[in-house]
Amino acid sequence: MVAALTRRFGDLDIAEEAAAEAFATAVGRWPADGVPPNPGAWLTTTANRKAIDRIRRENKLGDKHKEAQMLSGDDPPEPLGAIEDERLRLIFTCCHPALAMETRVALTLRMVGGLTMPEIARAFLVQEATVGQRITRAKAKIKAARIPYRVPSAEDLPGRVSGVLAVLFLVFNEGYLATGPGTDPVRHDLTGEAIRLTHLIRALMPEDGEVAGLLALMLLTEARRAARVSAGGELVALDEQDRGAWDAALVAEGHRLVRERLAARVAPGRYQILAAISAVHTSALDVRDTDWSQVVALYDQLVRLDPSPIIALNRAIAVAELDGPEVALAAVDRLEHQLAGYHAYHATRADLLRRLGRSQQSRAAYGKAIELAGNTAETAALTRRRDQLG
């Protein structure tokens, strides 16, 4: 079958992937739906479809214009075709709660995103063999425990979708702030895939606030991508970004979604609040026009939903703009016992200490942040800031 596919598509990788995906589909589906009358023909047809799907996807990735269309403008949602239906079924199978979180992420990237094992291993800093084992074990469990290959019923959907969103958010974040010394700081293949899949979920559940919120958050983050890494490969902080380089179409699409959720007048979940924060930032054409009191108010709302120290750290960064670096530093220092191993904690402290003129302490904090940061562009920016200290 791989040979026939290779002949047809002229690409061994695509053929192998398509054949593997077709078998995986069969493994997921046949136990529940029964083996089709002509299994060989079924596999060939499925593999052909997968290959075409992948070629389409890759062509899109290379084509800026089409890409913009892919990221926005699917509103009102069109009825889902057979391929989209199949992808949705696959997403829900890959993100099944009976699988461990890291397995769900790896499986989704492999089976739905079409990433290779080495790519997944690199993205999450694990051995290729580990990824292989996770995926093999997951496939065995899907088969033997009969994890169904279908979109959950309307009644179960709300309970299942949060798990899917968590996976897609992880994929997006890894793409946005890729780890590892040899990797590109921003991996558009991952962010683009996460956005595409979130669009699919939104087409399935157009009324779900958190789905809309996550999509808005991704679009508003993705919109800043071009401004986020300098020509020299340094990470550019939000307050230093060239706002003219932001993607206006993505910003508009993200803002539209946030407004839609505000109009719904339903208490927002965390993705919606994060999207609203992002909307406040992207509404300011100049960083000095940022409505910081609005940002802090949204963080207050978020802290009530999610008391994690990372949210508290981000809130403190906004507080620095509203109430000054001294107040913010006191709030940040209270997080030490929880965040001492997290680079952003030290980077935030370094920045606040610098603004307070405490250069010596600032230098030490930058040093710790550099030690702990995994992203190449981030390390470069931190090093420059440290070396600029008087």
Partner: protein, 107 residues
């Protein structure tokens, strides 16, 4: 497709009357909806005996094969078309007997 739903607990205390009533109601539903295969409670691990007859002579040892704080106190065998249905039934089972359960598929 059949699934073993084991009830995991740290004592062999019998179910309280309200738990027993909930279990009975749940069992009636399993039977009515065609999921029932079998169910039973087990004696405590101190009543267990291990036999190993791989060496030609049956070795008999007192006690469970594995000492652990929590162990299987009773179980269901359920008929379900897939894991989603089994997990749903198992979560109702856990609620009815007020204990943690583990789901494993039969091969």
């Amino acid at each position: 497709m059949q699934y073993l739903v084991s009830v995991i607990h740290d004592s062999n205390e019998l179910a309280a009357p309200d738990e027993m009533a909930a279990i009975d109601a749940f069992n009636d539903r399993l039977i009515a909806e065609g999921h029932w295969v079998f169910a039973g409670g087990l004696g405590s691990t101190s009543l267990a005996t291990v036999i190993d007859n791989r060496g030609g002579e049956a070795m008999i040892t007192d006690g469970p094969f594995l000492e652990s704080k929590e162990y299987i106190v009773c179980f269901w065998i359920m008929e379900a078309p897939d894991l989603d249905v089994a997990l749903k039934l198992a979560s109702e089972a856990s609620k009815a007997c007020n204990r943690k359960v583990e789901v494993r598929p039969f091969l």
